[in-house]
Symmetry: D2
Subunit: 140 residues, 4 copies
């Protein structure tokens, strides 16, 4: 299992007239969270596309909203990878506000495709080798 924390602040542009962070913005926040988790492993999603010809289209998104996030709040995003990727990978993210209250939680499932042909493939070895050390203990 891998767990990673990242932080970001709600922009004015991201609020709506209800005074809440608009519900659709969390998809972006989750994207930031998983990109930062991958970076923390010494790899980047950018390189996966640019150097390894692998794209990761999203297959499903699920979010349960508990309370609103407000303008200028620094949110804490806790992202967990519970299983090694195979043909797909699922990231679970929980968002907490400055009082450590749960704002929302959700999951994003992504696939792997080649950028050339768009065919579904297994998770690339270059990613797996970064991830395996974190899963060895729990699998033994």
């Amino acid at each position: 299992m891998i767990q990673h924390e990242t932080r970001l602040r709600v922009r004015y542009a991201e609020t709506d007239q209800m005074g809440y962070c608009y519900y659709g913005n969390y998809a972006q926040y989750f994207e930031v969270a998983r990109a930062e988790m991958i970076r923390s492993l010494g790899f980047t999603y950018k390189d996966m596309e640019a150097k390894h010809d692998t794209l990761m289209p999203v297959m499903s998104l699920n979010i349960r909203y508990v309370r609103p996030a407000l303008y200028d709040e620094e949110l804490r995003l806790m992202t967990t990878l519970r299983k090694l990727p195979s043909k797909t990978v699922t990231f679970y993210t929980e968002v907490y506000n400055e009082k450590s209250e749960l704002v929302c939680g959700g999951s994003v499932k992504l696939g792997f495709i080649t950028s050339a042909k768009g065919e579904g493939i297994e998770a690339p070895e270059v990613l797996l080798e970064k991830l395996r050390p974190h899963f060895e203990d729990t699998e033994s």
Copy 2:
């Protein structure tokens, strides 16, 4: 049951470098679809907020992505309301491309709160009276 169709075109701003409509934008598209369904009933979400002091915060969002939508495609959004709202309401939306292929499908569950106190309430009568005629047949 109520079903409503609305159309919108993918903006350049909404594409990403994969050449797809970014996965987070569908939350906005679903918002447009449910607002247009309500308008088709002779009511508006705008008036619900402005005249009836009722806000509808989102409680959950689920989307399953089947194929990408591309820049400039005119998407057809098919939204269904299967049950009369009570404390919550769930809208189901399917998105089709110009070839009538399914792009994605999902649901959004919303609650009702008073704008003054933020307390959860039942769906306002002003909305229900617009909806009931569409559900009478299926309930008898």
Copy 3:
């Protein structure tokens, strides 16, 4: 000169906690307006990219805001092309609300580059031939 009108409705996602359409969204609205102008001429920006290997990166953006646009307002976007494109093209757009009051006005200047090499080029002939008939009277 070419003038073209298009309409769009302010989405909830596009409002901010001030209750206004966020100032950054007009860049998207201007994009929709110029894409629709090009479509009205029997051409599409999509085809310029996909079939004619020409991209149009933005070189400058200027907007003067007069009054806010509000949620659910149907805005009228009036776009004008005052001169035939050469190495660049400038679109002027004025945005009006439902009371025909000016919301904002601005201009976007774009260049033309080849998608392969990213080199600056002249406006492609396929676009110019659609535009010329509209400029002949004013030039004679």
Copy 4:
């Protein structure tokens, strides 16, 4: 004069199919930059709204784009306040990429209004007292 630097990273959501950071996103980046400048002075825009009943609607936006910003680049935003605010305030922001090349530069002019009546007012004293120490030298 006050100058302040802040950094942010281009999100995948913010790219477009040209592979660039979409031109409209810089309005959001400029917003982040000026909010962070105000925070660095020991004040927040959030408090200006919440505690001092003052909103700052945008009056004009001007951007000149020099080169594209790309996905995952960490951008450096250099924001300058050249004059003390009066009825309006203008922030100048330059955006640099990781190679310290200029991506774009622009300015945003904002007014001050009361949240209650929406009337134009002078910059609130609570903001001016934070700013004055930075302008005393240059004015003498």
